[in-house]
């Protein structure tokens, strides 16, 4: 807080200050608060379109990356255990979990983009991955958020050899030490020096798939 006394030389308040009536205190704070609120509403309205655009762009980039440039994608909400494209009136989309379904130029679904999160070495690792239910294989993986140690744990994001393994690998995944794999379909080589972080990625994907599989399968069957 401020150094020095409140009533230093030159302070606006003389020692024998007349009592300020309570209504003046309330009026000052009230009008200050109202002005502040008004100003913030204006700034919020001005900045909102750009902020939303940035967020949408970031999401779109991530989806394009893990589904390999689909022609377009739909957002599917998980409402009452079922995936739906259109929400019933009154449902709050912010409170619902969602996946994204990408389509190619011929309007054929190419796969789902699913987000997942799991506690890693330092903090929660968030990622998005593409999954094709027809082949049961992953399409790609992108780390969205990580605070893992720079130079070690952050290889899950920056090591392209690690990241590229998630394209075409069959689910469920199995993390193996580098070079110790037996050539089975679900194997993913973990990163030496970042074993925990890379294993977290594998586990996050497996758990998310386990959780989403019934809903994804049901949605596929209902479609013509």
């Amino acid at each position: 807080m401020s150094p020095g006394s409140v009533h230093g030389p030159g302070a606006p308040a003389p020692p024998d200050e007349p009592r300020t009536p309570a209504w003046r205190l309330l009026a000052t704070l009230g009008s200050g608060g109202a002005l502040a609120g008004l100003l913030l509403v204006v700034v919020y309205q001005l900045t909102l379109p750009r902020i939303e655009a940035h967020k949408a762009e970031a999401l779109q980039q991530a989806i394009e990356e893990v589904l390999h440039d689909p022609a377009r994608f739909d957002t599917l909400y998980l409402n009452a255990g079922q995936l739906t494209r259109e929400l019933p009136a009154g449902a709050d989309p912010r409170a619902l979990e969602r996946v994204y379904l990408g389509y190619d130029d011929a309007e054929t679904p190419v796969g789902f983009a699913i987000t997942a999160a799991e506690p890693g070495f330092q903090d929660v690792i968030r990622l998005i991955f593409g999954f094709d239910p027809k082949t049961g294989a992953l399409l790609g993986m992108k780390v969205l958020e990580t605070k893992e140690t720079p130079g070690l744990g952050d290889k899950i994001e920056k090591d392209s050899a690690f990241v590229s393994q998630f394209t075409g690998v069959a689910a469920p995944l199995q993390g193996v030490k580098k070079g110790a794999g037996k050539g089975k379909p679900g194997e993913v080589d973990l990163i030496t020096g970042a074993t925990i972080s890379s294993r977290t990625v594998v586990r996050a994907i497996n758990r998310a798939l386990e959780r989403w599989r019934p809903a994804l399968a049901a949605y596929r069957e209902r479609r013509p």
Binding site: M1, P12, A36, T149, P150
Partner: protein
């Protein structure tokens, strides 16, 4: 408060009363977001904006605000400007906004800002308050740039993202991690204390020398005359 020139109002915060290095205020952002120069720049600009805008407003309305609610009013003003800075950063530079994370809203509790309102802007004219805020804000900026520079060069081998050393440079990763923040500021303060100690010692030596030289010179002159 003594009568001062505009230049002195401005220069005070740069060095002699530097908010971080001398007054030890605002340590949280100084340590938390200085792992790269780019983050340091964004953080200092946001703080500078909030500081100058708040000082201007507080100084302008100081006669209207009753003494009992002045702190609440200052906090309200500061929180408003911080929200504006936060929204603007998110709209203009989303990647940096993401890197700074929660530390932008935390500018509200940066003691430098409330401290300057209470100690200066609430009892001085608008012009001087803005100059004072500019000086303090730039002093804060310089310190953050110093921290960010040291930490990014040592911890990542780069400056503003450009690689400085060859591929064989092994970065001191620890410098961009939390311990590096504490250690860097600790060593900056050590260096500063050492430098001040030396300057003080040099001044003492000069003074002593001047005192002993004066009679000696007089004696030498007397000798020459004779």
């Amino acid at each position: 408060m003594k009568k001062t020139t505009p230049a002195a109002d401005f220069a005070r915060g740069l060095w002699r009363e530097n908010p971080v290095l001398i007054q030890m205020l605002g340590l949280c952002p100084t340590l938390a977001v200085t792992n790269t120069v780019a983050n340091s720049i964004a953080m200092s600009l946001a703080t500078l904006f909030v500081l100058v805008a708040s000082s201007f407003l507080v100084s302008s309305v100081k006669r209207l605000v009753p003494n009992q609610v002045r702190i609440s009013t200052y906090v309200l003003i500061i929180a408003t400007f911080v929200t504006i800075a936060d929204l603007s950063l998110e709209a203009l530079v989303p990647t940096i906004h993401k890197a700074l994370g929660a530390f932008v809203p935390l500018i509200v509790v940066n003691c430098i800002i409330l401290g300057r309102q209470e100690a200066f802007a609430s009892r001085n004219p608008v012009g001087r308050s803005v100059l004072d805020a500019l000086g303090m804000g730039i002093g804060f900026t310089l310190t953050l740039l110093l921290m960010g520079g040291i930490r990014e060069v040592l911890g990542n081998g780069s400056l503003l993202g450009f690689r400085l050393f060859g591929p064989r440079y092994e970065p001191w990763i620890i410098m961009i991690l939390p311990p590096g923040g504490f250690l860097t500021l600790g060593f900056i303060l050590l260096t500063y204390a050492w430098w001040r100690g030396r300057a003080a010692a040099a001044a003492r030596t000069r003074e002593l020398a001047a005192r002993t030289r004066a009679p000696a010179a007089a004696a030498a002159r007397a000798k020459a005359v004779s």
